[in-house]
Symmetry: D2
Subunit: 481 residues, 4 copies
């Protein structure tokens, strides 16, 4: 963005005076709406006359005011901050705002919805399921809602893998951890899945899962399109690691941070109660360190937070051991948080481990926690053999994933599920609902499927965070000169 | 915004097709930066040469990259969503982005900071205090930080009301509810406060409190300006009710909702366990119903949520009793959440109560909880004398306010306090730090002091929420025709 | 007990020396087993030959060893401590030890059990219900188990008040607060109840409720006997106040204390955060102060604990106000816990209130909490009008009653329910299962129905407790001379 | 006990009738008081005249009634249940009842107390420390109380290892996990310890630790006696495993079970949410399975609880795999709890591991959790290669040990600490305070040091428990014949 575009006389927007707030005005680049796809039937009959009126208008108790429904021009901005003195993203990007529409493109009476959960557990999974069922029934009168058991493979599974769900069946699910539908990994066979969907007459698919699941949903969406099917698919990203981009955060993340902080508390107590005590906590986060980072900032008792986005080294000048030793000498103890994806390149691998690959062809992860615990012990024994030393290691992974959602996440999951439903009955497909800068929006599924959300270590935020935790950046000595 | 400005061929942005996401482009109105005031000394020496380099650049462990510091053009947008098909807010408003600056306008070595808490308790108060102390010391080397006891009156209080604080003194405060500094209401005497500030040589004031405290901070800011003093004042809004506008939410709010949800759980259990049982929970919220609303949506067990922004009536067609009776007949029980400010005009007042005014000249609040409980009992006894009935009433107010902040709020308080410090050492004054659409920003104090944050009952969001909870809108019969 | 009976040479058992532990021997008074009644059928066929072998012996996975079954001579002592130097209780009293018997007096295949809950909520109610159902099914193969809805009145209620229960139906109940069966007070009509029991063919009644419920169970037991019915009745005392004697404590009590302590924490924080702040918490306990007392000792932040067993006065020498003022001057704040039955004689009553009686003919309770809060405010305003003062009042009653049982209580409820079942199939009736000095026992229902459990203010324990909390005994000045 | 001694006419105490409770009377064997040692000074001046009156009698607010003080004849029974029809323990054993005595054998003004914590963490440690400090100061006016840092070695450590403690210093400790004093293992050098104690003039030692610590305390007691020192030593058993005998349970145990149950909940959710899911939780308990057992009974979601006291085998008839397979087929999932000491003889050891011994010369423990997890995976892959299978393993050890005590344990720790103090000022030494059948008592330290507390698998209780959990007893096939 050209700073000369500023219409303030002083040119530089920093020139405020102390007499009160001042204003500076600039022009903005154009705005592009990144729209979501629609069902063939929705495209074929775009006139309001053909549309179904929203049944919420006939609600017995509640009378929607004129402003109730989202209008076609309602959008949300993807970037809510930028540097007006330098080149801004051009054009700016916007998404459709989520919410109920006055006219439906789908007849709820004929709808047949299927819900499926894939991948690992995440707090709030059952809330999303419950709210999809309750919302479909109570808002739109959809009477045929099914839970598909055990992930994508359930679509081509037995009849008992397709369980009819109604509000009575899902009563209390929002207070349960895990997923009542059960979840698995893998089993993605596109042809068999779509055949199964068609055979059972489903018209709406809600797929809740991680990045693999989102990529699978994109493939299903494209296969629907290829076959010309009038079936919608909605992806609801489930990643306790918060490693999905574009949306503000993934559901369950705040709950995970809450429990992670409790594990850090325990490690802190163990460290404090020992002579030269170190508390070590491994937290989830294979490609991103969000849980580690947020729990560190919430806890304020962490001396060092190691995440996949930042390299570190153990020995020598500027290394972890040097830093730790200083902390222990100064405070008598130290607490380390390590994300599971951190330090993978430091851990020695056997030849087998070097060859081993996961289902996606990536090299397998080694467990950084026990390795680091062991390295710490060896280091101290070697360097300070006559001084007491204790490392207590905590891996709270499965105690974090399995808890019910807290209030913040329960609310989030509720709004997420309802956003999804409103979008589907409006005729959208191939989309993901989610908050963008605080406002629920619809984002193309294919965009979300490829969006990463690393901790940006070049941005103000992470740098600032590092200064808050006061930890090293583990630059090699050469950088220090 | 003129829809004809749209550059897409189809005109209506809703015309996407099913072949994939599509784009529509429009132009935006100009953007105005609503800037915050600066200290006289900051204005007098605007050249970088005169500025103090940020000591974070000399951090022993951490080496800030080039992107670490906020640049003068970094702004955040106030409105992150709008209707591109109709008149958008023109101009759009932006605020300065919060964060560390490369050059300081204040010499930390000469700084003398005072922290004060006013008004009622709120989860996270002690975290904000702790992080102000820790941040001032560790980030900027400010060595003279004082806690002022018992609210604004402490500024003109005794010496023992001014307690020196350092990181050791505030150790563990972030895990404590309440405020270690103690807090009071009232005692605002502008002349004595500013005299006291000058007499003790404070150069930075951090005032943490509700809307009255923010208005007081504006007055202090203006008195500083009138006297030409080089003292900054920063307001940190503390309102568990979340009734402050512009910023995304106030600290402690998420924690309050968490505990409020537990009270609702208890009321739900009581209602479920009785024959024709009603659970009634009164939650904080004199002018706004945010806690009631969020706890209702988090809990999903509430049948009716009464807030100050929506009138309701008890008797007759469309009234609360009619609705409750139907719910009880259908489900066997019901749960009601009422914000403390709801229904004030329905509660009969004695002549004394009609005359009584609070310190601000407003009519005093009556306690809606016991009144509603009593009305419910009388109604049932009158209408259904031979049927069992139970109302259990819970007022969790002081169990909510006094808890320590949860992880989400602890993180929020940490970033809030650090944002405040970064702004103060950059020479800003008369401002409030806070997240705007997810990004920490600096907002003029006087704007925040008058910004309300009612639940917008004409907006999509509330209407949608009401449809989710499936409760009536209590329109009088005439509206129903 | 005659101390001359001591066989040690020194006479006084205190004469140990420092060379190690020493022994002193005395004789004990005789021991009387206070036995529980049996079913007519159990009395008629006392020979082992007629008895049914315990089906646990045929368990597919578990092979009970010889020591598995309780033998007829297994008893537990009621008094586990006494003064051997003075008159001991003579005779000592014992109860039958609870647990499985090798031979049953009841054929499980023909059994038909009914479960009923009466009175107020208590943590663990649903666990007791669940474990009765699971235990009857899994241990003894009882296939006909019914939940009777809404208290004693359910016995003569409609068919839908009798719900068949099996392990699948009660899955997860132990994690729910309240009672799934619903509970009511009153409705005790002996003839209709016993007629209803007979009409539905129940052979085992499990009545879970407070002292009124236990007295009702005694009446039912006697009516069964009068009619010569072969139906057993077992009482399971449910009193969150812990005001039932003989058994060690009532279920749910530990959970209640846990939550009560949280309320005290909140009151402590409120008091600490104010100038001259007082936190006031009202806790359950109409006739006994156990919750108040235990929560006080658990919390350690209480300055004064007022219970029904100890009179107190407000004004004058040795009164509450004098004590409070000294504490506030010394510490800056104070925390008061008051049991709901304390100070009833101090609260002024209107003529109506003097006349009003509850269903049992007792004078109605007035709410001590708001009264004391108001008296504190008036006192301070009168005596110290120029000093700040704050009272924050918390009534956590329904937040305490409604929570699920904690681990300690869940275990207790499990053992309690299984103890009950083992006793019933052994042919016992008119009994209460419960721990006596740590060992589960069977106690005659009529003994429990009249056993009170006041805090013994003349015993070491309370006196000692008072010295721990360091609070006054509110002796009137005359006593001080 | 001779059943012929029964004075009831019918002989067999089982012969009750249905007309009401009946009584049977028997005689009891003699009772022996197992007394605790006394200080030389207490033995030398046994006359009341020489004794110091208890300062509690001069308490400003509280006036101890006549019944306040424990009398010399107050004892508690070790065995509160027995079989009156067979040989009872003869003689019965009693201990001194704990509590304040009217006359002290120790002058509090001259006392100098030292507190030390050894071994691993346990919830409630800080509460015990705090209450020792507060009780010594407030009850008896002992002004010289010191915390000895880092275990027994602190006695011969530097000056800074001896920290003066008073009520202000320990404020809030009861809400903190861990031990503020820090704790270590080992470092027991008898001569140096006793020399250090003498050199610093300590007159009362309170040693809080596990069985090693108790054995150390016995050695110190004997060395005191050998040297004729007038110094008391009191042991407070700290064993989260509850593996200390005689006393009812160890402090922190209930808290540990509470948190352990949460880990089981998480494992249950993980198992339920997977196809053929197994949740595996390892809990503390090297020689005893109390935590595993209690958490199993509290949770009710455990299919199999493996403890050190019961052998099990994996393969073949009656083995774990067979049982698990049946459960998984029936329920779709299974939850296993394993105590850390279980199955040690099943885990293959390397030659190094076979040779390795811990400090006490015992063979080192191998980690049963990962081993069992791995064995389960191999078994399923081998036997059911085409069926999905998931094992989720949780090791919550350090999250359990480090939490603050819950309300039940905080109360326990308070009474324990006060019991200890009352005993010490009465002149007792070489003793342990603790509840025996619910009543606080003084037990000879040397008895406690050797008392084990295994889960008695031959007693009713464990057998009954096994029937409750419905799990196998893993008898080898030969036993089944």
């Amino acid at each position: 963005m050209d700073p000369t575009a500023a219409t303030s006389s002083g040119g530089n927007p920093a020139d405020a005076d102390a007499t009160g707030p001042t204003n500076t005005t600039v022009t903005l680049p154009p705005l592009t709406l990144r729209d979501v796809p629609r069902l063939p039937s929705a495209l074929a009959s775009p006139t309001p006359a053909a549309a179904v009126p929203n049944p919420i208008s006939r609600h017995p108790y509640f009378h929607p005011p004129a402003t109730f429904y989202i209008s076609p021009g309602d959008v949300t901005l993807r970037h809510a901050f930028f540097d007006i003195a330098s080149a801004a993203p051009s054009p700016l990007v916007a998404y459709r705002r989520a919410g109920p529409r006055g006219a439906l493109a789908v007849d709820p009476a004929a709808a047949r919805a299927a819900l499926v959960t894939c991948g690992g557990l995440c707090p709030g999974l059952n809330t999303v399921l419950r709210e999809l069922v309750v919302g479909l029934h109570e808002l739109y009168g959809v009477r045929h809602v099914f839970g598909v058991a055990a992930g994508y493979r359930g679509f081509y599974g037995a009849d008992e893998d397709h369980v009819r769900l109604d509000p009575a069946a899902v009563d209390g699910w929002h207070k349960k951890g895990g997923t009542v539908l059960k979840t698995t990994r893998g089993g993605f066979d596109l042809g068999k899945i779509v055949d199964g969907i068609v055979a059972r007459g489903y018209t709406q698919i809600y797929a809740i899962g991680g990045d693999g699941t989102m990529r699978g949903a994109v493939a299903i969406f494209q296969e629907f399109k290829r076959r010309g099917l009038n079936i919608s698919i909605t992806g609801i990203p489930k990643t306790v690691d918060n490693d999905i981009g574009i949306i503000d955060r993934s559901f369950g993340f705040q709950t995970a941070v809450e429990i992670a902080q409790q594990a850090i508390d325990a490690a802190h107590v163990e460290a404090l109660s020992a002579v030269n005590g170190v508390g070590l906590v491994k937290l989830m986060g294979r490609s991103t360190g969000h849980i580690a980072l947020h729990a560190t900032l919430s806890s304020r008792d962490v001396d060092c937070c190691l995440i996949p986005e930042v390299d570190f080294h153990l020995e020598g000048k500027g290394g972890l051991f040097e830093f730790l030793y200083e902390r222990i000498k100064k405070k008598g103890h130290a607490v380390i948080v390590v994300a599971e994806g951190a330090g993978q390149e430091l851990i020695p691998r056997t030849d087998d481990q070097k060859r081993e690959q996961d289902e996606s062809g990536n090299i397998v992860f080694l467990d950084v926690g026990p390795w680091l615990k062991s390295e710490l012990g060896r280091w101290w024994k070697r360097e300070h053999p006559n001084e007491l030393f204790t490392v207590k290691y905590i891996d709270p992974t499965y105690m974090i994933r399995a808890v019910p959602a807290n209030a913040t996440d329960n609310l989030y999951c509720t709004l997420l599920a309802h956003s999804a439903i409103h979008g589907v009955v409006a005729g959208f497909t191939g989309f993901v609902p989610g908050p963008v800068n605080g406002t629920y929006s619809y984002i193309p599924l294919e965009d979300v499927a490829v969006a990463k959300n690393p901790v940006d270590v070049n941005d103000h935020k992470w740098a600032w965070v590092r200064s808050v935790t006061n930890q090293p950046d583990f630059l090699k000595p050469k950088h220090n000169i």
